[in-house]
């Protein structure tokens, strides 16, 4: 792969004469900013909860499940939890899926989660640290 730069690029080849900002520089800066923004949203919380929100998951009811988690954080006093949505991971017959990642532990993926089971997960797993093995996809 050649390292030739085309004349049409907006920065000159004469590095050292003046500092040029390349697209790679820009994107690295953006990445750093993005990471800090994510951390600002609570990514470094002890527990990260991901609820699948693709069309197939929503059709199986994952939007209700998401609402349970959201309400738990905003109204139910659940703290130190980073909640996010994720795309479809391919486990179609076991949707809705919820993934819980805790630092230092193996991620736990739950399948066939209903709003009731979601509440259970909040009470038992998130608040008390109990992994509900019957619902784990393995």
């Amino acid at each position: 792969m050649s390292r030739r730069k085309k004349e049409t690029h907006s920065y000159s080849r004469l590095k050292g004469i003046h500092k040029v900002v390349t697209p790679l520089d820009i994107i690295k800066k953006k990445r750093a900013e993005a990471v800090s923004r994510i951390i600002g949203k609570g990514y470094l919380s002890t527990k990260r909860v991901y609820v699948g929100m693709a069309t197939c998951e929503i059709a199986a009811g994952s939007d209700e499940v998401m609402r349970v988690f959201r309400d738990a954080i905003s109204k139910g006093g659940l703290t130190d939890v980073y909640l996010s949505q994720k795309g479809c991971v391919g486990r179609c017959n076991l949707e809705p899926t919820v993934e819980i990642i805790e630092s230092g532990k193996n991620p736990v993926r739950y399948g066939l989660i209903t709003p009731e089971k979601a509440q259970n997960i909040i009470d038992r797993h998130l608040k008390k640290g109990e992994v509900i093995t019957e619902w784990v996809i393995d």
Partner: protein, 596 residues
């Protein structure tokens, strides 16, 4: 309670060669010996992409990677790491960026072990509506690298080295297509993403867009740079509202960050993407019909040559690729065409996403390296046929593909091998069929679809598929005639060779492949009035056997009052009235209703 570990050993060809299976056996023995077998689970995974450093062992939590593990190291690993929680430094291999991205979705290693997620690398990991998530995982780095260090010719060279082939079904070498489009001289060029995904039951592209829209946009931008285009179109079917919403948000977010639009990332390159919605036509997944649709005309294909790379959208050179192809591009750029070409087998490099559906335990989306066998996907990854039923066939390629019986389960999944056995890779649909499905009805279902979606322009497809369908319907209704099979084959071969576009050319494939592989079933339908799967109602009759004790449950359940009988006496089904709904069969507790 001590920590629980998951140990994964790479079972890629290179690591097997270096003894990874033996390692696993030894490891399990040691775990037993130390009494911690209950806390440590071991798995074998597909190739993790670090063959030079093999055999690879990964221990989680912590993503600790050991390389070059030998049988002598096992004791130390067990004692130091798994018991005392001290990773063994001398064996630890620096976390390669390859590994970090491809084997994130683990913990469900039975399902993901043999997969290799390249196109779907971020699906299920990031929030698709967050450009921050995408950026944090090296998003748009490939585009930045291209704009900083590479000329368009460099990009195309990398694509050619990778051996990536179009994932929409045709499998045309992507690098070559980019080269042709670049070579065509014009003041304006276009880039199109084909997200029309019309195959019934296919959802690979939808998942890719709903799970990781930015990677498609990044791929399109790189493609536009390579061929010299400044405008792109995302042609997405209107039946995917969430995907449309997410890709629109991705476009808007990218624009806000200066990653799309004028002077991308401060360079001279400008590129913008517009969304065009489909209107419910399967034929608009064909590239020339798609182009007509974007231009505002009726979606009908036109003869090629000239190819879209020379004369496409608005008569300008156009690069049109499938969603999955675009999703692979950033990986090819970052990890290099050389690395990509090592994944896969023969002339089929990289991975392919399949939507596995039908009579299977784990329906889902899988992405496997080319060369994986059908058996591995169906039985290892997706758990085989539920209910102890017998496998009958697997249909690959959607309505354009063929049905392969058990003998072909060990076929390697790559373009050439599948074509050799009479099917196609297609866009990735894979439907598993068990003994309870009728192959004639299967063929009829697909042909009905293609006939109703035929644009009507060319005679063989418009008229020929209809006549084939009439014959098939007759056969499934028990009115098959001598000579019908020959007529189907005569029409089928003519339609394959004489049709204008891929829809027509592949419409007879399900019929012809089932005729080839399941000819006996057809013959039974025609000559013996028998449907061995028990699906064709016309040839089905329900009878009450001597097991009947006269409980009357069937009489009450029958929706058309076809059953007569007195209490405690054997009942009788009137065949003239019976509509073969099967309700009596369902409710009988005494096994007294027989299907024949």
């Amino acid at each position: 309670m001590g920590k629980e570990y998951v140990v994964t050993l790479c079972e890629g060809p290179s690591c097997i060669h270096k003894g990874s299976r033996r390692l696993r056996q030894l490891l399990e023995k040691k775990l037993e010996k130390h009494g911690i077998a209950g806390k440590v689970r071991t798995f074998l995974s597909g190739c993790l992409g670090m063959c030079a450093k093999g055999p690879i062992m990964v221990i989680n939590p912590g993503y600790v990677i050991y390389g070059g593990v030998t049988v002598d190291d096992v004791d130390e690993i067990v004692e130091q790491h798994l018991i005392k929680d001290n990773p063994v430094a001398r064996l630890t291999v620096k976390e390669s960026h390859l590994y970090n991205r491809f084997f994130r979705v683990f913990g469900d290693a039975k399902f993901f072990g043999k997969q290799m997620r390249i196109a779907l690398r971020n699906c299920g990991i990031i929030d698709p509506e967050s450009i921050e998530d995408y950026l944090s995982l090296r998003g748009y780095e490939a585009l930045a690298k291209v704009l900083t260090d590479m000329t368009p010719e460099d990009v195309i060279e990398e694509l050619k080295k990778s051996g990536l082939r179009g994932r929409g079904g045709a499998g045309f070498p992507t690098g070559l297509k980019w080269q042709f489009t670049r070579a065509a001289e014009s003041d304006e060029k276009y880039v199109i993403c084909n997200a029309d995904e019309g195959d019934p039951g296919a959802f690979m592209d939808r998942s890719a867009i709903e799970g990781d829209p930015h990677t498609v946009i990044e791929g399109m931008a790189i493609g536009a740079y390579a061929i010299g285009a400044n405008k792109g179109y995302m042609y997405i079917r209107a039946e995917y509202p969430l995907a449309i919403e997410r890709i629109q948000k991705a476009i808007d977010d990218a624009k806000k960050h200066g990653i799309l639009g004028d002077n991308i990332l401060g360079s001279d390159f400008s590129f913008d993407v517009e969304i065009k919605l489909g209107a419910g036509a399967f034929v608009c997944g064909e590239e020339t019909a798609l182009i007509h649709s974007i231009e505002g005309y009726r979606g009908m294909p036109r003869p090629r040559p000239p190819y879209p790379s020379v004369k496409g959208l608005f008569d300008k050179p156009t690069l049109i690729n499938n969603v999955e192809t675009w999703a692979n591009i950033p990986v090819v750029i970052i990890d290099g065409g050389d690395w990509f070409s090592k994944v896969g087998v023969g002339k089929s490099n990289g991975t392919k996403v399949f939507a596995v559906a039908g009579r299977i335990v784990n329906t889902g989306l899988v992405e496997v390296p080319m060369g994986t066998t059908l058996r591995e996907i169906i039985y290892d990854i997706c758990g085989g046929i539920p209910g102890n039923k017998k496998f009958k066939a697997v249909q690959t390629g959607g309505p354009s593909g063929g049905c392969l019986p058990e003998d072909f389960l060990d076929t390697s999944i790559d373009y050439e091998s599948l074509a050799e056995v009479g099917s196609i890779m297609g866009s990735g649909g894979m439907i598993v069929i068990d003994e309870d499905s009728c192959m004639v009805q299967m063929a009829e279902f697909f042909l009905e679809f293609t006939q109703s979606e035929s644009c009507g322009k060319c005679t063989p497809c418009r008229e020929g598929t209809k006549r084939m369908l009439e014959i098939l319907t007759r056969i499934s209704k028990g009115k098959g005639q001598d000579g019908d099979i020959e007529k189907l084959e005569r029409l089928g071969h003519m339609i394959q060779k004489a049709s204008l576009c891929g829809l027509g050319q592949s419409a007879p494939n399900p019929v012809l492949s089932t005729l080839k592989n399941f000819r006996d079933e057809y013959k039974e339908h025609i000559y013996n009035s028998k449907c061995r799967a028990g699906q064709c109602k016309a040839m089905l009759s329900y009878l009450i056997t001597d097991n009947c004790i006269g409980c009357g449950a069937c009489l009450r359940a029958c929706p058309v009052d076809a059953i007569t009988g007195n209490k405690k006496e054997k009942h009788l089904i009137n065949q003239d009235i019976c509509i073969k709904c099967g309700k009596c069969y369902e409710v009988c507790k005494f096994d007294a209703v027989a299907k024949s």
